[in-house]
Symmetry: C3
Subunit: 333 residues, 3 copies
């Protein structure tokens, strides 16, 4: 028996995604279950979390299981991810030992960790997450990493389908927005994977210099094209949103300023207009407005848009519970 | 359907308080229930907590529910409470979005937050708590705020009644005491509300300059008088406790030194005698001794008093569980 | 009724230990139970924890109970352990009040606290732990203290017996190892108690100057000798491990450098060879290799040893769950 990790949304086949969405729909509306009876889900947070932590805990409890949260900064020893290191530095425990120990205690392990070193090329390798996956003998679920946020993507695509029904050929724009800080690309990359699998017509709109990850963009393009959809990148906000049926807004940091957030902040001074307001919404085809939260109100999007009747931001949050119940049932049921 | 928040102890009518106390008595002695089966209570702590957190978790579990604790300092993003702000500062999430998200996950939301800015007039508005109550679509329960601590007051008045039985016209003194730090007034204000509702004869004793909140004192006075009780404030410790049947000790900070705790500490050098000892207890009518804990031993009250046979400080703590089970049943049952 | 605390592994009689090991064996392999139905186990952590926290939570849940974790650094007020102190300093709450309050809420209380002052003689008195035990009215379980780690020892001795079966006269070497930091002696002391009770032939190997606690060593020697075993201390690594059937490796700090970790680090520069590698393992009688984790890989022991087929480090970790289920059942069942 090989265990199944969920480190990237691209791990799902189209058929598996379809199954997950159907299972999510069945979970949406029921609050009790027993598929996790007598089982424990461990969640390891190296970053702050509101939605992911609470929605996973609620999902686990609703399935009859026990959820165990570990907040690494306060509770855990420093962790060494690399093999064969002489551990005479500050790291008190090796990921191998933590992962193998936790595998004796829990039935699945969620990990949230974002790397923020000087180098995008190093960070995109997600060494810590992959070390957990390599050493754990139970399924490891990515709760947001440098590159991906597959659980968010499951909730997002479920939210889109619940509203638009058939997704083939439907126009989704993922629009970069302004933000005072360099944010991770995880929710964006994972969304591209699943939306491409559904055969949507995808547009990514961002300023020059704020490219998403090359490899993931390439994968999503290939997937979209082979699923009957399309994929394009534009560097103009307004033309990017024209005719969109779904407008997904999200800030992310630039790879080229990865080691220099101050420089990125300077560059972004001329990009404040990348903010979703009513004028932008009018260019769309009455688009659903989406954002994974937390959101900087009136920077990323205006209150009017966020609180408008096309906004489904809280549905996205709620659907985390249903999607994660489906995922846990799929992995462990 | 309008939801019911519990932000202040004055929210209860006399009849409702009576019901709550009867329900508390029924909870006192039973450990199992199922009124919260399949439900989750979320507790949001912006301050440290021992009794509140543990007693709420135990209460929830005993009612068959799930309790989810969020410690804001370590787990949460910075929170913006004000409407229509351009969020380009340090706050990463708006209270509106946190409250609306959490309302999709939990069935009631407890919030502990005390403001400590330069201005009492600003802090007494309790903007963060009120923002949660405004935006949440589930009941919000105050777990101690700048002004109030209604759950403590329910446990306290239950403790008093369990000992004194009929409370009408019984003499309760709330006595200010010394303390190295400026403490919040929440437990005191909430106690005044409920003791006034029960028609007790209330005395508040504190040094000049350490007045409680004007508006709450006014409300409590009106309530006491219309309930057949009385209300007086004295600035002398000894005459304040004369003949008391309940002596409730608690330190609180002065409004006038709100922005200057060092100055308050200097003023308090001459107030060390505001400490409950055996001599003070002798002036009372064999009073019950009460304090909400944590207590600075031998500063607020002597060991002899705290550990004496009239002290009910641990009963107060225990009764938090029973009172909160009653409250949760009342709100959600 | 007197309550039963578990502060040291020496609290168990030989017969009681035998019962606990049999109960552990019955727990090993079953995941459900109801002996803690309707009960809450409170765990108080003044130090970081991975295995202890997670294994106790899982153990409690598997027995049908509720586990409540309190991380003191972030959640708790400063705590005063000493009697009759005038609490006008920084400690906001007395251990007496915390212990008596928690005893109203939980059915057993675990405490992890290690003292690290300037003086070994002071720290070995474990004032905080003993204050909790003195004031709590429910059983207090030591989750690792300055001197002891009885729950680890129960898991360890169970692990040894599961592998070696009859332990009488079997050779166990506890070997000091190098480590960049001064570690506590708790797991070592508690192991000596229980291994001595089983009548094992015990060798403690450490460099001169790194003596374990005199009193505990004396107790273990007496116990070993009266149980048909033996006890010796050697100051040479290689002769210490010769012929061992169990090699238990662990670093610990020196009493004489207790107030001066920099000096200890300097002394340890010449002790890097106290590391378990394949050469050392070859001197043993095909010994089981044990360590309580977390372990500094390639400092305490090499990867080859830790990951070798005689290593049972993850079994030790897993057996924490089974042993603690046995202990909780023994204390509360």
């Amino acid at each position: 028996m090989t265990k199944r990790d969920v480190l990237t949304a691209s791990t799902f086949s189209a058929a598996e995604l379809e199954n997950l969405l159907e299972l999510t729909a069945r979970m949406d509306g029921t609050r009790t279950g027993n598929v996790l009876q007598g089982r424990t889900i461990g969640l390891l947070f190296f970053e702050k979390s509101l939605r992911t932590r609470v929605s996973f805990e609620v999902a686990t409890v609703q399935l009859g299981g026990h959820c165990l949260n570990i907040f690494a900064e306060n509770e855990l020893y420093g962790m060494e991810p690399d093999d064969r290191v002489v551990m005479d530095g500050t790291a008190e425990e090796h990921v191998k030992d933590a992962a193998k120990t936790l595998s004796r205690y829990v039935d699945a392990l969620g990990v949230r960790h974002l790397h923020r070193s000087k180098s995008w090329d190093v960070d995109r390798q997600e060494r810590l997450l992959h070390a957990y996956a390599e050493h754990a003998t139970v399924p490891v679920i990515n709760l947001e990493s440098t590159l991906e946020h597959p659980c968010q993507a499951l909730a997002d695509i479920y939210t889109i389908r619940k509203n638009l029904l058939d997704l083939k050929g439907r126009k989704l724009t993922l629009a970069w927005t302004d933000h005072p800080e360099p944010k991770g690309m995880g929710p964006c990359h994972s969304l591209l994977h699943v939306a491409a699998m559904m055969g949507m017509d995808l547009t990514v709109a961002h300023p020059l210099g704020f490219e998403l990850d090359d490899e993931i963009v390439g994968q999503a393009r290939t997937t979209a094209e082979s699923s009957g959809g399309s994929f394009r990148v534009v560097n103009d906000f307004e033309s990017g949103v024209d005719g969109a049926e779904v407008l997904y807004a999200r800030a992310w940091g630039a790879q080229k300023y990865w080691s220099d957030p101050e420089r990125e902040a300077m560059v972004k001074r001329s990009l404040h207009s990348w903010r979703v307001d009513e004028e932008i919404m009018k260019r769309t085809d009455n688009a659903l407005f989406m954002h994974p939260l937390p959101v900087r109100r009136n920077v990323v999007a205006t209150d009017d848009v966020l609180d408008g009747d096309r906004s489904v931001i809280y549905d996205q949050a709620e659907n985390r519970v249903h999607a994660q119940k489906a995922l846990l049932t799929h992995l462990l049921g």
